[in-house]
Amino acid sequence: MATIQNLLEVKDLTKTFPAKEGFGTFKQRVYALNGVSFVMKEGETLGLVGESGSGKSTVGRLILRLLEPDSGQIQFAGKNLLQVPPNEMRSLRKSMQIIFQDPFASLNPKKTIEQILEEPFIIHKIGDKKERKERVATLLQKVGLRQEHRTQYPHEFSGGQRQRIGIARAIALNPKFIIADEPVSALDVSVRAQILNLLQDLQNDLGISFLFISHDMSVVSHFCDRVAVLYLGKIIEMGNRQAIFERPAHPYTEALLSAVPQMYGETKKRRILIKGDISNLREAPGTCVFKNRCPIKEPVCDQEMPELKEITPGHFVACHLRS
């Protein structure tokens, strides 16, 4: 019996870190993630948005097993990632890659572009010398770099070109799934468009699923099929692009969208000003995570934690008053 399988299933992920500064004798824990669940289908792009510190990168690191969760499950291509033996994990790693915000930090400054791009093939013992060279040539071409670039070093490239190198490395082993952690945040406007288009083309051509991490709602609205909004380690709203951008239901999502600076001539949304900051000392909340900043809060919000509920098919919201 064939069921349509999800590529990735994340269930109830929780991750805490010891708080840097604690008061009293308790050892406080920071809940970086608190019961995060979502699924991704093959070829789909899921945007993960939220303010700094909301837990976006932690999600990515847990999926790649660069961190271990306190609790929860991660299924990738039908395998329980948290229990696969190391050798199998190594081969699964081929199909999951990551692109970072600052590719420079992750590119070895002492290696040429060719050496950097050849590396994944060497590690996974793919092809002989000649074949690897050919693969590098194809990669360069796919990401819009020239063959002359082979012999150059990372510092000789602009931010946009470095990001192209990072992308080339990520797609080298034909992954099914790429985590892109703020891939265009460090880039200038004109280059940002180039890189977003490149990612979109690669997705169309290669059918890669993207977990696209960003704090920029406009960028996400261009790139993602579905969007999950993270606030203090919880998904507070999730749905397809249209639902999130045209019918946002959570007061936080509404506020985020209304705060995006609009270019002259665009219809202005009425701005919902939210006071205060996302707080960084947190306890396991038994209440709504957004209550301290919420403009529509009611007494119930201080007493119970709102569940993520489906308000229309595929559109989930965690708010006592809106779901």
């Binding site: 704090h215 045209e246 600076p261």
Partner: protein, 324 residues
Amino acid sequence: MHPLLEVKGLKVGFRFQNETRLAVKGISYQVFPGETLAIVGESGCGKSLSALSILRLLPYPPIEVFEGTIKFKSLDILKMHRDALNQIRGKAISMVFQDPMTSLNPTYTIGNQIEESILRHTTLLKTEARKKAIDLLEQVEIPSAQEKLYAYPHQLSGGMRQRALIAIALSCEPELLIADEPTTALDVLIQAQILELLQKLKDDRSMSILFITHDLGVVSEIAQRVLVMYAGEIVEMGPVQNLFKEPLHPYTKGLINSVPTLKNSTRRKSRLSEIPGQVPALGDSPGGCSFHPRCPEAIDKCKTDAPPLKEYSPGHQARCWLYE
């Protein structure tokens, strides 16, 4: 109306192996009382160096002003004596930088730093300065201001630090506030708060703001006039509505079109329009119009001759052969 600030033919750069490399290639503009002028452009186009020149804060060596004048009211800033300059700095003109952490002193409390700025520029007594400091922190909407006086910079969030910096910048009621990407490092909700705050302060005090950013959305929200820089030159300048409704320079058009906006994208995923290529590296600008290698509308003349900056409608200038 007389301009508050008048920059003329400003060239900024450094010497490199017996030649002069210019990062700012002769820019001229004015800021009028009570207006916000935005400077936009991509990384490395010379925005910060232009702004730093105004207070003679360039990182010298190696960076220095090679040519030009900067007048604040009738005062010639570049020729002024240090002492006179110190009277202006932080008082008539003050500045907020992009990274609040590097411009706050980590070893002093926020309160100390605001009070110090007040005491340096006014005749207020210490107790009065303290009262004023609390008042300022309240104005920039820092909650429980009295307590925050005793906080050290690292104890505040990024948004709070940026507000504290704005409070310091405002402590002497400047006539001109220079803000170099004050919200770039912040989340949109905090950015919205800070922009609102600057807007309000500007209206209450009829202060002028020179606002540097690379975000066209932010420009639209805060500025009355915009100056677009490319590779050290002004390529277009004009009132916000002209610039966004009838952009002249192909670079401005390209910038406007390449920004992903919420509005156009909700129904289906679409490609963004790109400006091909990249900004030329300092010191190897192409001949002719510096934008020609990336320009979709370039004509032959663009490759050989550099176009002048010319006014094409009242207050709206552009540097492009297409309009000659």
